[in-house]
């Protein structure tokens, strides 16, 4: 019985923590720009700099 109560308590604690993170994520609006988050693994890549010829045209 003690184990059951302890298990339920730990489970609920984890769930509450998950809900808190969910609420924070929704408040930040992360779910609305998942497109940007998909690109995070590529963030170390430096943006390709323009060649000087193209830069003059722009």
């Amino acid at each position: 019985m003690d184990v059951l109560v302890l298990t339920a308590f730990v489970s609920l604690t984890l769930v509450v923590a998950g809900v808190v993170f969910l609420a924070w994520s929704i408040r930040q609006g992360s779910h609305k720009h998942s497109d940007r988050l998909v690109l995070l693994p590529l963030q170390d890549e430096r943006p390709c700099q323009l060649s000087s010829a193209n830069e003059d045209e722009i």
Binding site: M1, H33, R36, V38
Partner: protein
Amino acid sequence: MLQPSPTTSPVTVDVPHDLEREGGFGPRQALNSQEGCLHCRTALPAGSTQSFCCVGCETVYGALSDGQLLDFYAYRVGAAQPVGDLHLERRSYRWISRDLPKVTSDSGVVNLQFGVQGLHCVACVWAIEQIFYRQAGALGIVVNSGEGVLGLSVESPFDVTRFAVEVERLGYLLAEATDLPEQAMSSTDTLLLRASIVTVLAVFAMMFSLAIYLGLSAGPVFEFLHSANFALSTLAVLIGSPVFVRSALYSLRSRVLHMDLPVALGITLTFLAALWSFMSGVERAAYYDSLTVFIALMLWGRYLQERVVSQNRSRLLEHRPDAGLVTRRLSDDGVQDIPSSEIDRGDMLLVAPGDLVPVNGRVRGTGGSFSLDWISGEPEPSEFEQGDHVSAGAVNVGQSSVRVRALEDYESSRVKRLLSTPRIRAHDNAVGTGVRFAPYYVVGILVAAAVGFFRAYFAEGDMSAGLEIATAVCVVSCPCSIGLALPLASDLVLSQLRQLGLFVRSNSFLARAAKVDTVVFDKTGTLTTGHLELSNVETVSRLSTEHRAVLKQMVIESRHPNAVAILRALAAEPQLQALGRHSVHVREVAGFGVELLWQGRMFRLGRASWACPEATLDEPIGATMLSVDGHPLACFTMREVQRFSLGHDVGKLQSDGYHVQILSGDESCRVRQIAGEVGVAPEHTHSSQTPQQKASMFEAPDMQRALMLGDGINDNLALEAAFVSGTPSLDRPAVTTRADFYFVTPGIAPVLASLRAAKDLLVVRRRSWVFFCIYNLVAVTASIVGAVQPWVAAVLMPTSSVLSMGFVSLSLRHRSRKWMS
């Protein structure tokens, strides 16, 4: 599949071999123009050697290529829409230097926010981030594609204007984000949070209940799980029920029986029964898990209902059109930028090229050319001279600023009235899911619950038995299948319409669109793109390379519609360079045209009588003449650019049984010409209409179920008066906020698709109601006779929901194939 317009010439681009590589255009696919337009993948005519479907796609592709951003196509997800008729005139970026914080060497880190329009997927996000990080001073960027917001952190020497120019070259639109709340959660976000939490509670409740259903009936474990279940259901009620209870109370106060009323009633009765069961220790009526599952399903249904419409609204730039209107006023202190709301009668205004005249005025000093297409729909600009009256809403399309004396305050201006915040239609907030059926449903459930209660009470002589049966009736008859399946159906339709390029802004649009019997089109900007094109484009290719370069120099800075049309024809020659801005000067002669002195020769482009004063010409009225030293070189004639496959789509509307009419402020001859070309009878056209006359059209008895499509400010009153309204205009939020939907495609095919989709949705909804009624008949009967145990109710509810959702999605998938055919 959209077909390229025969009036907009596809262009050819040589695809460099080094771009044919793995990863371009999707995994392991090389760039291949034989698979359609290189930018949007629209099918090209069979046997065509062209690479693009329109100049807009070619322009964006060129910008991506120039910027070495062709990886854009590797990241792009899903189909793209043709860019179509890309505006070639310059946009004003005054608002950047005027309204945004300055980025200087002393300002430190500056945080900026923009509204951005046109974001579709991760490729758009990637491209904008690449452009951002190339600039010195770029610190961090957050592109929120869901809300259409751009957040930048920059420091000196970051050039904000240059960044805006480069982003807009790719086809996006930037504006000041004036009304963005900080860190606030929208109602849709709150729904998502509530639904997520209640779902977690429901999962726990079902897990705890499983042990009880499998035989656990006594002991400390049973007591613990029983208490935990009650706590979970109480939490679910506290978190999830306010959404429905508030709506139900509001509907009662309004004396309208909304579908949220039976939902709220079911939640309340079930919870009271559960509370009684817990407090009394009697196990009957302890529907804890059913209650939490019920609330979770209803919350997800509500979220689905609101999600897509909320996304479509936030996709647009939502800045207030009236607040952003700025004018230049001349005073003793010089030129001042002031909000248009501060204009007083008698002020001297300086209307720069591209600016809007905010109030009725009188021209002072040198005149100029003004376009009235926003007000009257007439595409041809008019010439105004000293002393002429110029109407509010006219746009300066010349190359010089014009002084205008204000004849009225801005408060009295027609522009203010037409740009004012639109009234919220009464049915905009309606959920629209079986509202008429709700009263009968509520009464039916209450009667069935009462019958079940009294049957069990008299049969067993125990009130708890009666309460158990009444609760079972309320639980199994829950409108989950309707509350989830119908919102899912709407969500699927709205998502499909988004794929087709049509974005719905109104919750009740689909319900009203199914009743439409008449479709009314504005002409300029709706049936046509609002731009002109050369009707004799071969004239350009007959000119020598030098003359074409001179011609390009003369039109590249002009906003005159004729000049824009000539520039578009010259854009098809990508290697043609202008003469260079610093070596020549183009002079505008107001009311006549432009002239340029090049290598000792005077070139003129404009009215034939002015370009060739000594020649006797027999050119069409309105023709634009190019001459050198008074001798004609070429004569250009213009025509309005129709939308993609316009005649074909209008024909399909008529064959579907819709009455088609044209309503325009333009002259009768132009309106009837367009009508004849698209197959609309002359008696179904209405020309020279003022905005008020357009709106009053919809008061006629035969116009009570009309769909109005318009794009200009002169259509605002009509859009509000019509039963349903839509617009192709994205760069004019004053119009879009009055419409039930907007579309971004070059043609009107998505409009027809939306009408067909609405009718199909109505059929699917009715069939869903039939299933719902049959299910309730069986389930309620079983509950009344006592055959529904708590675990049966917990299984029946989600099962009926899943079956309903499966039916809806399969039905719509089958029907959606015909929407664009």
